[in-house]
Structures are given as structure tokens and as C-alpha cells.
């Protein structure tokens, strides 16, 4: 009996968290007039909303831009922050603690304070209206350093010494010995970075004003705010659905791994 109550509560939660998505998915195929209905079964299915979205915003181009940006940022964060994290976790050098404190300090500063100068910097570098402006400022990230450092600390020193004795340089140790042993942390940092980059809207809105270089979330946000949908709900939802789809698929694929490592290695640092 108690068990039943438990499942009932969980089920209510499930409806609360999942139903809006299901509704949204179905609404994108529902004729405009029927969208506000509660029912999940429209009288007929339509691709009209998607047709409009594809007609109004360059979905493929946006997808490509988003993908290039998110992948480049993620790859760079993994490579460079793991280098820094390795140096902080496994090498001894003067100033190490200072650098570590500095990285912790950067976490305390709200991004907003840097937003304007960073924008002017990007303007000065001539990176507005280019993907560079979206990628380069985010090629490193302090959270990544913290998570990776925490994970690298658990790797025995002897293992790294053994690799040195075997003839590895530090970079090779990092990529051939440390990386294979830190997959959960790398997946966590990778996914966090990817999702963060994929979902970022504020920065692209500021830096990119040419449709050609806009990322998908930016296009969708402007489409929704800027009236590209002509006040119609279906196309807005369809655009939003298109935006959510890749990340949801990626999430479902990595989900088990992700949540687990997120909870354990994630934010304990």
C-alpha cells in the first residue's frame, strides 16, 4: 500500500516533468487552432509549423554553427583544462597554490561584470559576427579545471612515475595514461561544457548579429521574441523543439554515465 503511494507520487512528478515536453512535441505537429487544447491527439497531423520555421530561419546553418562552436569549445576545454588540471594535481612547481587560488577566484566573479569588456575585446579583435568570437573566449573553464583536478588527484603518483620511467613525456602521460583513467570526469566536463555552450544565448545575441553566424538557440530566441513566428505558437514551439532535440538525444545516450559521474565527481570539488 505504501509502495503504491510512493509510485503514485513519483508518477505525479513524472507527469510534472515530462508531460510538458511530450505536449510540446505533439503540439508542433498540431494545427495552430488546436494547440491550446489539453488533449494529446490532434484531429490531424501537420508539418506546417516546421515548414514555416525552416522557411524563416536557416535551421541547418544554425545547427552547423552551434555544432562547430560547441564541439570546438568542448574539445579545447578538455585538452587545455586537463593540461592545467594535470599540472595542478600532479606536478610540483612554485606558485602552484597561487595559481589554484586564482582559478578559484575566477569562479567568484560574475560573468556579467566581464561581459561588456569582453565584448569590446571581441570587437577590437574583429571577432564579432564570426564563430571565433563565440569560441575563443570559452576555450578554458575554471569548473573544468576543478573537476578534472579532483579526478586526477585520485590517480596514484606511482602510476605516473612508472610512465615517466617507461619514457613518457608529461603530455603523453596526460593523454595516454591519465585520460583513459579519468573517463567519467572527462565525460562530465565534456558534457557540461557542450551543454553549456549549446544552450548559451546571451553571448551570441551580443556578439553575432549576422544571421549567417547565428547559433540555433539564438535564432530560436530571436524568432520567438522578434515575431518571426507572426504571433503563431506552433512555429515557436517547433523551433524550440528543434533546438531541444539534439541535446535531449545526446543526453539520453550518455544519461546513465552522466548523472552518475555528475553526482559523484561533479560538484564535490
Amino acid at each position: 500500500m505504501r509502495r503504491l503511494g510512493l509510485y503514485l507520487l513519483l508518477g505525479i512528478g513524472l507527469v510534472g516533468f515530462a508531460y510538458p515536453f511530450v505536449w510540446m512535441g505533439i503540439a508542433t505537429f498540431t494545427p495552430e487552432a488546436e494547440i491550446p487544447e489539453l488533449t494529446l491527439l490532434p484531429s490531424r497531423w501537420t508539418l506546417e509549423h516546421y515548414r514555416l520555421v525552416f522557411e524563416r530561419i536557416p535551421v541547418w546553418r544554425g545547427l552547423l554553427n552551434s555544432l562547430v562552436v560547441a564541439l570546438a569549445v568542448t574539445a579545447s576545454v578538455l585538452v587545455f583544462t586537463s593540461m592545467a588540471a594535470y599540472a595542478l594535481a600532479k606536478l610540483h612547481w612554485r606558485g602552484r597554490e597561487t595559481v589554484f587560488s586564482l582559478i578559484l577566484f575566477t569562479l567568484m566573479i560574475p560573468f556579467l561584470l566581464l561581459l561588456i569588456p569582453l565584448y569590446t575585446l571581441v570587437v577590437r579583435l574583429g571577432w564579432t559576427d564570426s564563430l571565433l568570437g563565440l569560441i575563443v573566449p570559452f576555450m578554458m573553464n575554471a569548473t573544468g579545471v576543478l573537476i578534472l583536478r579532483q579526478s586526477f588527484l585520485t590517480i596514484p603518483r606511482d602510476l605516473i612515475d612508472a610512465a615517466r620511467m617507461d619514457g613518457c613525456g608529461e603530455l603523453r602521460i596526460l593523454f595516454t595514461i591519465v585520460w583513459p583513467l579519468s573517463v567519467p570526469a572527462l565525460v562530465t566536463v565534456g558534457l557540461l561544457t557542450f551543454i553549456g555552450s549549446w544552450n548559451e544565448v546571451l553571448w551570441p545575441i551580443i556578439v553575432v548579429r549576422e544571421v549567417q553566424w547565428m547559433t540555433l538557440p539564438q535564432l530560436v530566441a530571436l524568432f520567438a521574441v522578434g515575431g518571426g513566428a507572426e504571433g503563431q505558437l506552433g512555429p515557436q514551439l517547433a523551433a524550440a523543439f528543434l533546438l531541444a532535440l539534439p541535446i535531449v538525444l545526446a543526453y539520453l545516450f550518455f544519461q546513465r554515465y552522466f548523472i552518475q559521474s555528475f553526482a559523484t565527481s561533479g560538484l564535490k570539488g
Binding site: 612508472a162 620511467m165 603523453r172
Partner: protein, 372 residues
């Protein structure tokens, strides 16, 4: 392939290691390992022996002094170029590689041809009886097997010098004995220079051709196992080596009808042969050291030197250890198990004068004994 011309000795001259925080881990250490010699670094934990090994390996840099391998000063040579191999305490096998890959990794990095790698790995595997495990991952192996893989990884490299960092400490007692024998055999067969760190004196005694005893970063004594056992250079070495440890009795020397040792509190009185101890001063404060096997039960008629009550008896089979309370001190005697006295019984002990050691109470240095 055998390059006998290769100089493989290791020499340390006045080596210091001082950490950034000012901690002195190694203090003015000088010693030499001859080519092909099996040298053991022995000492309690924290004595600097592992640091010393890592200095030789190149994993740490010496603050002062020079380290040579063969004729080459290697202070600034990174580990990979020192042509040495190391076996770690917890084996340090790469968890994501198979046994074969673990052994081959170092060779691959050195661009040894594939066929040569294969030959060497298989040869080592044969010697270590690992052939059927080559495709396994470390976590699928038992402790002993992992240990052998770690050794195999060192062997395939055919290095000038092998370094061992307490390689047996994670094994259970029976395996440890087995591996000890195996290491000794390997050394005989390969004839390479070995520097072996341990805190276990049994390992040191059984494996080492010579032993460097370390304490608090300083060399206490260098010698063969028998030398350090029988002629400890100071009180630390005497106390560290031997099980149960040597008995120490604080006291002073007096010249009263000959040379006499008087223990603190007066319960111990011992006539010494003055000719044996050429360099003592009358009134000198000394510590008398005697190993349990040189202490025996005395019959009353004999010159018993001390009396006391039996506190504990440990029977080890053929022999027994008697813990006898004498005043404030406890003296251990090793006796034949068949004659052991009862608890709390009063006994008299005698000491074999030929097997006593005297240490200066202040410096702890052994007082020299005239050789007869």
C-alpha cells in the same frame, strides 16, 4: 645484445634533498653500488630511503651532490634517459592496458622494433610464468601475479639498473617468501645492478649483498648483512636490525677491580674484559647492547649478572623468548623452549660477554672492540 661494456654502477656523492618547505629528506648521503651488486636501502618509514631511490630514478632532483650511473652524472637527466627500470610498491600497472601492453609500453615508446618487443616480452613472461596471462588486465590478476608483471615490465627493458621500492610489502607472508626467492634467482640470472628499498630487515638480510641502513635522511651504516648484524655501527642500527630487537641497558663504566659496567639502578653489574675495549674512559656513560640470543638463563653458581621476574613468555616452537623484568627495564632472553620457566618466577640471567656491544650514551656510536 649483452653489453658488458655498459657501466652500470651507481654512485651518490654528498647528495642532499631539501624540499621547498625546508624539510630535509636526504642529508649528505654518499655510497656506491658496484656493478651487478644487489644493494638494499633499509630503514624505518620516513627515513628517506624512498626519496633516495626516486633521486636515483630521476623522479626527484637532488638539491646538492652528484648522482652517477656508470660514468655519467645523471643529475639533470630525465628518468626516461637514465636507462633504469623501477618496480613500485603498489605495482603501478596501467589499469587500461593488458599485461602484454603493460610490459611492452616502455619499449614501444623507445621505438624498439615490434618483433624485438614481442621477443623480450615473451621471454620475460616465460621466466616469470606469466605466459597465460598476457591478455588479461591488471584487475583480473592476483596480487602476486601483478607483482610479477611489474617485475616483468622492468626486466623487458633490460636496464642498466633495477630499482625496487618495497615491492613485496603488499603481498601476504607466504607469497612474500616465494617472491623473495624469485627475486634472488632473477638477480643471479640477470646479474644486473639492483637498488632495493625496504623497511623489512628480513628482506634486507636475505636479498641484499650489502645494506645501506638509513635513519632520518642519513646513512647509518653500509655493510654486508652480517656486518650490520654483528657489528652495528651505532645504537640505531643495532636496535633496528634483529628480531626481537637488541636489549639495551643504560649505565656507566667503572674501574673497580677491572672494567665494570654498572646499570642504572644498580641491578645489573657486569665485569668486562678491559683488553676488549681499548677506547673507553672510566666513568663514561654508555649503553650496553646485547641480543636476546646472547642472554641465557643462569644457574645460581655461575656469575649471574642480573635477576628478575619473568613477565611474558613467547614460545616460537624450538625457542622461546623470555621477557624478564629487571628493575625498570625489561630484558629479553632467547632460551630453549624445553626449559622455559613459569610466569612470575624469579630467574637469573647471564650474558655472553663476547657478544655484547657498547655504545656511547651521548653519540650512540659503537665503541670499538679489539679483535682477538
Amino acid at each position: 645484445m649483452r653489453e658488458t661494456a655498459r657501466k652500470t654502477g651507481v654512485r651518490l656523492e654528498h647528495v642532499w634533498k631539501i624540499y621547498d618547505n625546508g624539510y630535509v629528506a636526504v642529508e649528505d648521503v654518499t655510497f656506491e653500488v658496484a656493478e651487478g651488486e644487489f644493494m638494499v636501502l633499509l630503514g624505518p618509514s620516513g627515513c628517506g630511503k624512498t626519496t633516495l631511490l626516486r633521486l636515483v630514478a630521476g623522479l626527484e632532483t637532488a638539491s646538492r651532490g652528484t648522482i652517477r650511473i656508470g660514468d655519467q652524472v645523471v643529475n639533470d637527466v630525465p628518468p626516461r634517459d637514465r636507462d633504469i627500470a623501477m618496480v613500485f610498491q603498489n605495482y603501478a600497472l596501467y589499469p587500461h592496458m593488458t599485461v602484454y601492453e603493460n610490459m611492452a609500453f616502455g619499449l614501444k615508446l623507445r621505438r624498439v622494433p615490434k618483433t624485438e618487443i614481442d621477443r623480450r616480452v615473451r621471454a620475460a613472461a616465460r621466466v616469470l610464468e606469466l605466459e597465460h596471462l598476457l591478455d588479461r588486465r591488471p584487475h583480473q590478476l592476483s596480487g602476486g601475479q601483478r607483482q610479477r608483471v611489474a617485475v616483468g615490465r622492468a626486466i623487458v627493458r633490460e636496464p642498466r639498473v633495477f630499482l625496487f621500492d618495497e615491492p613485496l610489502s603488499n603481498l601476504d607472508a607466504r607469497l612474500r617468501v616465494e617472491m623473495r626467492a624469485e627475486l634472488a634467482r632473477l638477480h643471479r640470472e640477470l646479474g644486473r645492478t639492483v637498488l632495493y628499498v625496504t623497511h623489512d630487515q628480513v628482506e634486507a638480510m636475505t636479498l641484499g649483498q650489502r645494506i645501506v641502513v638509513l635513519n632520518k635522511g642519513r646513512v647509518q651504516q653500509i655493510g654486508t648483512p652480517l656486518e650490520v648484524y654483528h657489528q652495528p655501527a651505532n645504537r640505531f642500527v643495532a636496535g633496528f636490525i634483529g628480531n626481537p630487537p637488541m636489549n639495551f641497558i643504560e649505565g656507566r663504566l667503572e674501574h673497580r677491580d677491572g672494567l665494570r659496567f654498572v646499570g642504572k639502578g644498580g641491578q645489573v653489574q657486569l665485569m668486562l674484559n678491559a683488553a676488549d675495549w681499548p677506547k673507553v674512559r672510566p666513568g663514561q656513560a654508555v649503553t650496553l647492547g646485547v641480543r636476546p640470543e646472547a642472554v641465557a638463563l643462569a644457574t645460581v653458581e655461575e656469575a649471574a649478572v642480573m635477576r628478575g621476574q619473568v613477565e611474558t613468555v613467547e614460545v616460537l616452537g624450538a625457542v622461546a623468548h623470555l621477557y624478564v623484568r629487571i628493575g625498570e627495564a625489561t630484558v629479553v632472553a632467547q632460551v630453549d623452549a624445553s626449559v622455559r620457566p613459569a610466569l612470575a618466577q624469579e630467574v637469573a640471567l647471564r650474558i655472553d660477554l663476547d657478544r655484547i656491544h657498547l655504545f656511547d650514551a651521548e653519540t650512540g656510536q659503537a665503541l670499538p672492540r679489539a679483535r682477538s
